[in-house]
Symmetry: C2
Subunit: 341 residues, 2 copies
Amino acid sequence: MAKNKRGRSSFVLSSQPVITAWASVAGKKEGQGPLAHTFDITSQDPYFGQKTWEQAEKVMQQTALNTLLKKAALKEEDLDLVFSGDLLNQCIGSSFSLRNTGIPHLGLYGACSTMAESLLAASMAVDGGYADRVAALTSSHFASSERQYRFPLGYGGQRTPTAQWTVTGSGAALVSSQGKGPVITACTIGTVTDLGIKDANNMGAAMAPAAFTTIRQHFEDLGVGPEEYDLIVTGDLGQLGKELLLELARKDGLSLGGKLADCGTLVFDNTTQDVHAGGSGCGCSAITLCGYLLGELQKGKMKKLLFCGTGALLSPTSTQQGLPIPGVCHAVAIAQSSERQ
Amino acid sequence: MAKNKRGRSSFVLSSQPVITAWASVAGKKEGQGPLAHTFDITSQDPYFGQKTWEQAEKVMQQTALNTLLKKAALKEEDLDLVFSGDLLNQCIGSSFSLRNTGIPHLGLYGACSTMAESLLAASMAVDGGYADRVAALTSSHFASSERQYRFPLGYGGQRTPTAQWTVTGSGAALVSSQGKGPVITACTIGTVTDLGIKDANNMGAAMAPAAFTTIRQHFEDLGVGPEEYDLIVTGDLGQLGKELLLELARKDGLSLGGKLADCGTLVFDNTTQDVHAGGSGCGCSAITLCGYLLGELQKGKMKKLLFCGTGALLSPTSTQQGLPIPGVCHAVAIAQSSERQ
């Protein structure tokens, strides 16, 4: 078996790549939520100075990347590679943000799991010796997502109780072969899991089975349990998806109670911010990780975190054609650097 | 510098992962072209037995993957990982083809460069010891692409002379840590390059600068020149893009003449098949590689190939908003196994 492989889906990072810097850019609503103090930049302008929401998303990614480089005291030319993706058709947020920067780029599509997928890929690239400094980057924008996936904003459609609110935000993390910061110790690659949910306004339910599958697989492959982690945090299941995940785990004899959090319920205050089931979008787990979560690890308030990015792999076309919503979840184990072996 | 890194954009694969099997599925028009004899499966039905073209694309990917496994005498559970992506919004061809297979999956978006991007990522995963058997997979479909990027097929719009014909096809390659077959020796990761081309019917021109940038970078990083390869083959520049690439290279003092081929001009007979500037789409380079090109390496008719997947990173939204078309190109060096050091 390959030297770093554990089980079929997981691998360990023997060199333990370091997350030496991270940055987050958030929208106005996110800046009114409970994690406001953890974002590097909050914009009051949903257009981020641009003419379209898609271009706003491009600027969010550029701002997150530039803030990351500034915090790491690096220049664009010091970056070996960027793994990035977003929700926009053909991932134009990512392509346009890196246009003519000269930074080598590999594009990903993992829907809202992209922060975890890009971190996972970056850790492989660094640990394997193919790059020294790799950025993991993603974004989502409430307005560009709403009009692409659901209705024109001006239509003013009523949102269902199970609907989630797409986070306007971008997160970036720098994975390095050298330096100080939290370290990536192991990853589990998800499988496309589909239990037949067809309601594009209930993505938490569609993604919960994928989250359960990946978390269980992670424990099995690594020979650990929930006690290994201070927190197991899913991407954007929202309140309903989180409850479903707890139930799926309970039925399987796995107790996640007390250990489980979800970025979709952390990023907004569901009682005052009228976001229904919680936050969603690539930006949801991205700004929660690249602000609050990595900050807690750095401050020593947590020692080890299992970051489980969740994605709903639907498109408006598949929804209109009556197809179910497949989900995916990738898990990245991140530890305080003092844990570095 | 990281141990396998060469320059900023390139890396070598010290273990030289092996492409132990490959498979191609093609549509009717492709099956009437000059490479017809190299495809594993050719379908006369553009729907591949499905109700929609998007679902046809899903079936093409499934068929390519199943054919690959059959040729390699493997089962789904023997695969550690699939890297795949396609042109459909939110890459639903890839997500739906892997739904509930239980195969770990990392989704990519590299537009028509996906065959090269997935091979590159697969070679990293295998060489780094994170997986033993990884499939690189992609597809495109003329009908699903036309209606998504341009016009409804029933509209019967006149195609411009610079337009390319999206290949209906899917290609899959198995990258392994053990076994016999052509080996991957080095890769160069592309940058998002944009010289301002805005014509969505002239993608060859939009991608040629990216191809030039990556090929030149590859030579510089690895300290080699065109003489290192029997053939340098770009993804889907088509006739016009290929001529532009030759001109860009000539102006830079780099002679590619006699070494350069393009999958877009190989896959169709431009004089009889009315495809205007040639073939395009993820399937274009995928079925040309996973049929003709790997076959030539296996038969010993070529010793070393530089496979340069090219992608136009546009979306209908970016085109409608008047934005230019960024291009990207990733290069993968593939050699006869007798070249394995």
